[in-house]
């Protein structure tokens, strides 16, 4: 059952913020068409590691990334790789919904436009509709595509951001606590969406909700103090984790 090649292979990754050693020798293989959850207490490095996967850390002056991260076998930190192109392939959704101060349509059309994915207006319309449909928000916004994205409710904004992220047809979607600002219904809608996205992409989600990790992911990675402590099948992690630190964390003990 094991796929021949991992979607993302990280080897001996180290991250430093100035003198702070934030990620300590992390190696992990992320499978394609799988939801992988990164869990761990605040400051454990899970978001930092996530941001390495589409070079979002490049934008932080003091941040230094070492080691080897490969997407489909290609080194993403290679000098010839354009980070903007990389981020079209490895999309990202953030904790706080952050639609552009533009119309709903333009929010989604922005990525395909700058990457030249549509040759005509009709083609662009199609991409926008398809993305909004996949983002499970089409029915709610189809009659007001010209309305500002910022006018939507929090849950709708987040689904709009997901639609925006998938409009460039990424291969990997990184989600950094995508539901922490959402109510349970919007959360359930996003989780349902994540499950559907898995058919096409590899999804990596950082979450503080253990139950969410258990609900949406097939693989779970537990980070602690910059180390990847345990990585395995989600069912196993939540019934019989190997490392006592994982056990302490997921059962809500001081550890």
């Amino acid at each position: 059952m094991k796929p021949s090649q991992p979607k993302i292979a990280a080897k001996n990754v180290q991250v430093f913020y100035g003198d702070t050693h934030a990620i300590k020798d992390v190696s992990v293989e992320i499978e394609d068409k799988t939801v992988t959850a990164f869990i761990g207490p605040s400051g454990c490095g899970k978001s930092t590691f996530l941001r390495c996967l589409n070079r979002m850390n490049d934008t932080i002056e003091s941040c230094r990334v070492e080691g080897d991260i490969r997407l489909d076998g290609g080194d993403i930190y290679d000098k010839r790789v354009d980070p903007v192109q990389l981020r079209a392939k490895v999309g990202m959704v953030f904790q706080k919904p952050n639609p552009f101060p533009k119309s709903i349509y333009d929010n989604v059309a922005y990525g395909p436009r700058i990457h030249g994915l549509a040759k005509s207006k009709a083609e662009l319309d199609e991409i926008v509709e398809k993305s909004l449909r996949r983002g499970a928000i089409w029915n709610e916004v189809k009659d007001r595509l010209d309305a500002p994205g910022t006018g939507l409710s929090g849950g709708q904004q987040q689904r709009l951001c997901i639609a925006r992220a998938i409009a460039t047809q990424p291969e990997v979607l990184l989600m950094d606590e995508p539901c922490s600002a959402l109510d349970p219904i919007a959360t359930a809608q996003v989780e349902e969406l994540i499950d559907e996205l898995r058919e096409r992409f590899s999804v990596i989600i950082v979450t503080h909700s253990m139950q969410q990790a258990a609900r949406v992911s097939q693989k779970t990675a537990f980070f602690h103090l910059g180390n990847l402590v345990e990585y395995g099948e989600t069912g196993q992690i939540f019934t019989n984790p190997t490392d006592p630190r994982t056990e302490s964390y997921i059962t809500g003990r001081i550890g």
Binding site: T239, G252, G255
Partner: protein, 233 residues
């Protein structure tokens, strides 16, 4: 896991269901002891008492079921907490069954006191019941102390109980062949022996839960099957 939860009420809930298991275990041990004693001393009054006290065991099982369901709903236990909650459900079920067997022994005792004594069987049944009660005690200790090695020992001891049962089976057959007037009593005694043998199986299941709780795995070795009477002619 000796560490405490950040939410201390979670610890209290888990301790409570385990405390219920221990009181249930205490009641079941008493039931085995008194059922065996009533049989040996032909004490009808004590037998009646065993029959009545089974109600308290059943009520504790209901209480454990309710509290476990509540705990799962409210606390969403994971990892060793989840295994504890699942094992509590199973262990309480096993204890309830053992209680029923004790009750059945008491019921048969009230009939047996009306018949002539079958020599020898009382001593053997007492030994068998004592062994099962001691195994239950150790299995519950192993469970509460998270002692997988001790639980393994209990599982091995079940073979002894099975052998005692085999011995009694043959002995009772001989009695019945020699003196057909003893058949009625011997049949009851045989069911009592079978009840105790079944108790041993449930005790083994409790010990297996102790191992599951500690290791997250069911014991792998096929446990000894020493009850050969189903193949005996």
């Amino acid at each position: 896991m000796s560490e405490q939860h950040i939410i201390s009420a979670f610890d209290r809930d888990l301790e409570e269901i385990q405390a219920h298991i221990m009181s249930m275990g205490g009641l079941v041990e008493d039931a085995i002891r008194n059922a065996a004693k009533s049989l040996e001393t032909r004490d009808e009054e004590l037998a009646q008492q065993v029959r009545k006290s089974d109600k308290a065991i059943d009520e504790l099982e209901d209480l454990i079921n309710e509290e476990t369901a509540r705990l799962i709903a409210l606390r969403a236990p994971t990892a060793s907490d989840l295994r504890l909650v699942l094992s509590v459900l199973k262990v309480s079920g096993n204890l309830e069954r053992i209680g029923d067997y004790a009750k059945n022994i008491a019921k048969r005792t009230t009939v047996l006191v009306e018949t002539a004594e079958v020599s020898g069987s009382a001593v053997a049944l007492r030994r068998m019941a004592r062994e099962v009660r001691s195994m239950l005690h150790d299995a519950l200790d192993a469970y509460i102390q998270r002692d997988a090695a001790k639980a393994e020992e209990v599982i091995e001891r079940d073979e002894e109980v099975d052998q005692m049962y085999n011995g009694l089976f043959r002995e009772l057959l001989t009695h019945m062949a020699e003196d057909p007037r003893s058949i009625s009593a011997c049949m009851h005694l045989h069911f009592i022996a079978k009840n105790i043998e079944r108790m041993g199986d449930h005790v083994t299941a409790v010990a297996e839960q102790a191992i599951y709780l500690v290791t997250g795995q069911r014991p792998t070795e096929a446990r000894p099957k020493a009850d050969k009477t189903s193949q005996t002619i």
